[in-house]
């Protein structure tokens, strides 16, 4: 991780505070950064990520938008072409579909089709994932719908430190970045044991966040937990679920927190799988066509002769995200542990 200064004072922050701090830092550093989205202005966002920013930077730099995800991204593409660096919020990742055309056909392709004449250096933030009884329209993890699109960067932090550093790096990046925020992690790490009390970020080392400017580089994964027996590829909430599964199964798993989903830090993955010879991929999204399929395909392409057992995928089921059966849907530690055990067999 590249710090502007190690002397930066650190403070405990929730992921919400860390994200807000990232936007605050960038609004202050760069006049071309602006922030808008539904309810993000006066009110500060339904998850409070932009609280106070309008008061601080004025309502032509931080403002409410109509309920039109397509308009939010479409205007942002135009602003990007002008030279601004819009950071927009879509209220839930589940509501990104009306913006999908502007994201895929426009933001992702603008640089290419104009040979760099026009670019769309947007950051599109959206809370994703389940675990909050949100039902099928407040729980989705649509990352695979972005990783398939050439020209996009897709990022998902798992903790406040990374969230701030990655968000700053995303805002500074000249490509359009899809910034997925696992909302179940906003207030604390979550290992899938929904019946246990919430652990706040203040109790977790990654909840210590520098107050000023720093970045966590894109395209770089973190080895969240070193291990020898099996490689776990995870991101977002699943990092903590995997950690719990490793502990509970007493399998010495190496957990890689991908952080940048695409472009991907393949080297870190390949090095780990070549070492362990086993691999489990975990994500919350629907299984079929999920990003796990790509990861499994890549791992077998690059590590075929090192693999001892089939690559396991632990994912959400191929159903909409149900409301009442949330914990039967959510890929919790028991399911991950079972996959770790299967990966260790034979």
């Amino acid at each position: 991780m590249s710090h502007a200064s190690d002397a930066l004072r650190k403070t405990p922050m929730t992921m919400i505070e860390a994200l807000r701090s990232a936007m605050d830092v960038m609004l202050a550093r760069d006049d071309n950064v602006i922030v808008y989205g539904q309810d993000v202005g006066y009110f500060g966002g339904v998850f409070r990520c932009t609280e106070g920013l309008q008061a601080k930077y004025g309502n032509s730099r931080v403002f409410d938008a109509p309920i039109s995800e397509g308009g939010i991204v479409g205007t942002a593409v135009g602003m990007g072409a002008y030279g601004l660096r819009p950071v927009v919020e879509l209220q839930f990742a589940d509501y990104m579909y009306p913006a999908y055309d502007q994201i895929v056909s426009e933001a992702a392709r603008l640089r290419y089709r104009s040979v760099g004449d026009f670019t769309a250096p947007l950051t599109i933030r959206m809370p994703c994932g389940g675990g909050i009884y949100g039902g099928q329209t407040h729980s989705q993890s649509p990352e695979a719908l972005f990783t398939h699109v050439a020209g996009l960067r897709t990022v998902m932090p798992s903790n406040p430190y990374d969230a701030k550093g990655l968000l700053i790096a995303s805002i500074e990046n000249d490509d359009p970045v899809i910034f997925l925020e696992p909302k179940r992690l906003y207030n604390g790490p979550f290992d899938g044991h929904h019946d246990k009390p919430l652990v706040p970020w203040s109790k977790h080392p990654m909840g210590e966040v520098p107050e000023g400017y720093y970045t966590v580089p894109l395209e770089s994964a973190a080895v969240y937990r070193a291990g020898a027996q099996v490689t776990v590829l995870a991101y977002g909430t699943m990092v903590f679920v995997s950690e719990a599964a490793a502990l509970e199964s007493s399998i010495d798993a190496e957990i890689i927190d991908l952080r940048s989903l695409w472009p991907l830090d393949l080297d870190t993955i390949v090095a780990s799988v070549k070492k362990t010879g086993r691999c489990v991929v975990v994500h919350e999204a629907t299984r079929t066509g999920g990003f796990g399929g790509e990861l499994a395909a890549l791992v077998q392409e690059h590590c075929f002769y090192h693999l001892e057992t089939p690559i396991e995928r632990v994912t959400g089921w191929d159903t909409p995200y149900p409301h009442a059966q949330e914990w039967a849907y959510f890929p919790g530690p028991a399911r991950v542990a079972a996959a770790l055990r299967r990966a260790m067999e034979a």
Binding site: Y42, D64, Q325, A328
Partner: protein, 411 residues
């Protein structure tokens, strides 16, 4: 041309914020009885004035006046009043249940009860509504939907008719002409038009009614619905419930500044009305007018209902953070229940005593239903539909991969 002027971004603001009372003059009201009522076969373009003014029937003396005053029997009005009261009491009871953690989430329609209920009375059996999450009045105005069943949906319990699949309030009642509520805003508005087109394609007589909030009109599907409804003259009522707010966002951010939502209809070639949504009689009369147009192959009607979201957006929201806490008490169109009640009293068809009696009876009925519903469990106590049922209805017949997944889950 002078180029010296610097451009600036205009960001609309509400006229009131916490600590600063709202100036409601932005609403541009018409007096009761003042707006003309053209024949149903009027041309869309000829409704431009109706889309700017405000159809009202009940005047300040609680009388029903003017051309829009409907010929409704006192009995029907009493039924309407009772349905509004039932809805309000139901909402209050469910809010309590949410605070008691028996349901995970709730959305009330406080202050907007007249709209869904009077329109329900103006529709015919077999017509289909495509509601948002704030039209529970469509269901609560009926006698064939047991309260217990609604509550079981809200609690996602063992006998939830939609098997725990959806958030509370996302009901689905085909038999009551109530389309499955979507969590994605505005999508249902186009579907309503499609349903109406289907009815027309089949030479049927049933019409559709689509519902959308002021905030959600900014979504693409609003425009799409208007375009398709106009092009194919779909038999559909396009209801825009302008309750001034979309969560924390004032209606001007959806485009209400200096124009009306009804005006958008006229622009698209759709006959449009702007109506006092807190005036039960006006809602009924306008709905009836629109329904008749639809049934006579005269095409769609867009109606903007001016009302106020008196409560919080949902149980996750605290409106005192973004608007004066007492805003509703100043809203010039008052309370739909109080207004209809006063009218009934004024025409000698109701009394405070009767009102109190009905209120008590409804409270008891709803309380009893809740007790009964709770017997079947709540989301919190884990007595919810089976995990195995989660794999059903993804497809008509369960494909192999879902069987495998169900097996893997071990259920």
């Amino acid at each position: 041309m002078s180029r010296s002027e610097h451009l600036r971004l205009h960001v609309p603001e509400p006229s009131g914020r916490p600590g600063h009372a709202t100036d409601f003059s932005y609403l541009h009201l018409s007096p009761a009885g003042a707006v003309r009522r053209p024949p149903v076969n009027t041309a869309a373009a000829a409704t431009a004035d109706l889309a700017r003014s405000l159809v009202r029937v009940l005047d300040d003396d609680d009388k029903a006046i003017g051309p829009w005053a409907p010929q409704l029997e006192a009995d029907a009005l009493r039924r309407g009043l009772r349905a509004m009261m039932k809805t309000r009491i139901f909402d209050a009871r469910m809010l309590l249940a949410q605070r008691q953690k028996k349901i995970s989430f709730y959305m009330q329609c406080l202050g907007e009860e007249a709209i869904a209920i009077a329109q329900a009375m103006a529709l015919e059996p077999g017509d289909m509504c495509f509601p948002t999450y704030r039209q529970q009045g469509l269901l609560l105005s009926r006698d064939d939907i047991p309260l217990v069943e609604l509550m079981c949906q809200l609690m996602s319990n063992e006998i939830d008719p939609i098997k725990g699949r959806q958030l509370p309030v996302m009901y689905s009642y085909k038999r009551a002409g109530f389309f499955s509520v979507s969590g994605n805003l505005a999508t249902q508005f186009v579907q309503a038009v499609g349903w109406g087109m289907a009815s027309a394609i089949k030479g049927d007589t049933k019409i559709a009614s689509g519902w959308i909030g002021d905030g959600a009109t900014a979504e693409a599907d609003f425009h799409t619905a208007l375009t398709f409804a106009h092009v194919y003259r779909a038999p559909v009522i396009l209801n825009v419930v302008n309750n001034q707010w979309a969560i924390s966002t004032f209606q001007a951010i959806a485009g209400g500044e200096g124009t009306t939502f009804a005006g958008r209809g006229v622009g698209c070639g759709i006959a449009s009305l702007r109506v006092d949504g807190n005036d039960f009689l006006a809602v009924y009369a306008a709905s009836r007018w629109a329904a008749e147009r639809a049934r006579k192959n005269l095409g769609p009607t867009l109606i903007e209902w001016v009302t106020y979201r008196a409560g919080a957006h949902s149980t996750s929201d605290d409106p005192s953070k973004y608007r004066p806490a007492d805003d509703y008490s100043r809203f010039p169109l008052g309370d739909p229940i109080a207004r209809l009640k006063q009218h009934l009293v004024a025409i000698g068809a109701w009394s405070d005593d009767e009102h109190e009696r009905v209120e008590k009876a409804l409270e008891a009925e709803i309380g009893a239903a809740m007790k009964e519903a709770e017997r079947h469990g709540t989301l919190a106590d884990g007595r919810v539909p089976s995990a195995a049922s989660m794999f059903e209805d993804v497809y008509k017949d369960m494909p192999e991969h879902l069987r495998r997944q169900r097996q893997q889950l071990g259920v």
